[in-house]
Symmetry: C2
Subunit: 360 residues, 2 copies
């Protein structure tokens, strides 16, 4: 999704992908095939690039350090990226910065977990510090015994209080090496089984909570010296907002900006990592809704275009060229308009139709 804005700005994108069938490889000329875990492939690829950036956070830290040591410009840098790769590092740093978080503790055995659970209340949320996404690497446990298998692996786990939130939120921020930062309106994310299904912009929350959320996101941007666009996932509670997770890249919770904001997160990321002045983050309409298209029963999703486009000439369909597997995010749809409920219903309908949940 960065390819379109790069074309318009006349920025030459080069892609390193594991496979020529990867979404980005399909649409960017001259894609190099190689793994992000192969330092030599990274070094070869880096030659002739002004800036290296990522669409996920799984490039090994030691490789990024090797690249930067060799003079390659990597944005966001490995020190910042570490906070999205390791949740224990992230929690410690955010607590240091005074950013509101759920109560947390690193635990390595059932005794420590039991003590934490008794203190903050059960059930407790348990996370592997590295490697989780879309609900993977997260477990809610009612007793320490339920976590015995994970604890038996020997690594410390991140235990967090289970927050009773009213809504889940996300705040998108961009920051450039210059230190210029720009924050987007706070959005609500609707999650089902740990997977984001919908994003609603702006979030229908109290103004002081929205401001606190944006302030927290900006503090993180500066405190962690982030460059590029990143997303802060939060909980809204009656007492205020709490930071849940960081995603250090343009993020699913920001796809609504393609049509819904004056500058899309993808253009903004390019501007940020190239140290260009940042773009206007204001919304293009009063309300914007994004609904993810998850793989369902239909292998070839383009068959739904005819109905979706005829039913709603204003729906914006985005498909990623991925092989459809049940539950996989294979596309999204966005709608904009004046009324929150109407805009949301249109997006939900289109996404459900593309997935095959509605007969039309």
């Amino acid at each position: 999704m960065m390819a379109g804005p790069a074309i318009e700005l006349g920025i030459t994108l080069r892609v390193l992908a594991r496979d020529g069938a990867d979404s980005a490889a399909q649409v960017v000329p001259g894609t190099e095939i190689g793994s992000e875990t192969d330092l030599e492939a990274l070094q070869r690829f880096a030659k002739g690039c002004d800036v290296i950036t990522f669409d996920h956070e799984h490039v090994p830290t030691q490789h990024l350090l090797a690249l930067t040591a060799a003079g390659v410009v990597v944005r966001p840098g490995p020190d910042a990226l570490l906070h999205a790769q390791d949740k224990s590092v992230m929690r410690a740093r955010l607590t240091e910065l005074g950013v509101p978080c759920p109560r947390w503790r690193m635990v390595q055995d059932t005794t420590a977990l039991t003590a934490f659970g008794d203190e903050v209340g059960w059930p407790v949320v348990l996370k592997t510090p590295r490697g989780g996404y879309d609900g993977k690497g997260v477990r809610v446990v009612g007793t320490a015994e339920e976590a015995a298998d994970w604890l038996a692996l020997g690594d410390a786990l991140l235990a967090e209080e289970r927050v009773s939130f009213t809504r889940e939120l996300a705040v998108l921020v961009a920051r450039s090496p210059h230190g210029q930062a720009a924050v987007y309106p706070v959005v609500e994310t609707v999650q089902v089984d740990g997977i984001c299904r919908e994003v609603l912009a702006p979030a229908a929350i109290a103004e002081d909570h929205a401001l606190a959320a944006q302030r927290a996101a900006l503090s993180i941007a500066e405190g962690l010296d982030v460059t590029g666009v990143f997303a802060v996932e939060m909980f809204d509670t009656p007492d205020g907002v709490l930071v849940n997770e960081l995603a250090m890249r343009p993020h699913n919770s920001g796809h609504w900006t393609i049509e819904g904001a004056r500058t899309s997160q993808f253009e903004q990321h390019l501007r940020a990592v190239l140290d260009l002045p940042l773009g206007d983050t204001r919304m293009t309409a009063a309300h914007v809704a994004m609904s993810n298209v998850l793989g369902g029963d239909i292998a070839e999703m383009y068959s739904g275009y005819l109905h979706c486009m005829a039913h709603d000439p204003g729906v914006h369909i985005h498909m990623y060229g991925k092989v459809v597997r049940p539950g996989r995010k294979v596309g999204h749809v966005t709608t904009v308009g004046d009324h929150a409920e109407e805009v949301r219903a249109r997006a939900v309908h289109a996404a459900a139709f593309l997935r095959g949940d509605i007969d039309g």
Copy 2:
């Protein structure tokens, strides 16, 4: 500029270009190198394409007829395209359809031209029926003698009355093979020396003139059986609108739709030629201005980004990856907002800065 929307819709674009350095070839994987005047190259390229379309009107008619005879789907079709290739065919057909045009006559010698000029008043606008664009192939003559050199070439020329217009307008229309048509708001085009410098949406004209302009454009779409997006250039006069030219493709006068309309002309063209339902043509803001970036004294135009983006976070810069030559359209900028004059001033400033006319 079609590449971005194609990526989002998951449509695979293939490009035939004369040179790997052409704008489209730079950004679309697997571009084939070949000339649109070479039938064999066209036939090779057509294999495996569902639909063939163009970004200019200069593919020879006989080649298009050969392709369609061989079962290749070409949109717009050769019969429709002819009206954008040959101005005499266009004038005859529009007159037949009852579309308001300037008074015109085909003339082959000074006697005929003198008779026409004496009838409609001097000076007269003289056009070569084929091959003109951006002011080329057009001449304003005060007497028949001034056209002696063109008339000596022996081909009939199109003579038109010189319309004293208040504004130049353009209307963008999309039409699908199904016959569904969608029209965009009427815009004003500001031309200097026959080259479009600015587009202002919507045009500040009387509502009945705007409706008449849209009706004329829709009549042309249906009457000529056009498929795809095309632009009708018109004159606004105190007595109504008159059709000047047709451009049978997404057009410079429609670049404002990328940010300024709910569906850009490039997405709309893809939808139209693929016979998908058309998208919403409404504006995203009260006023939109587009200013062309013409090649000036600066060979490397990216140097202006820092100033333009810092000066106006809302300006949308589009650069085409073309070699800069004085007067050549090498990019454009778009601004949106609530106030016509402010939006226009912002676009003019950014384009002038990128060109090198302002020191910043």
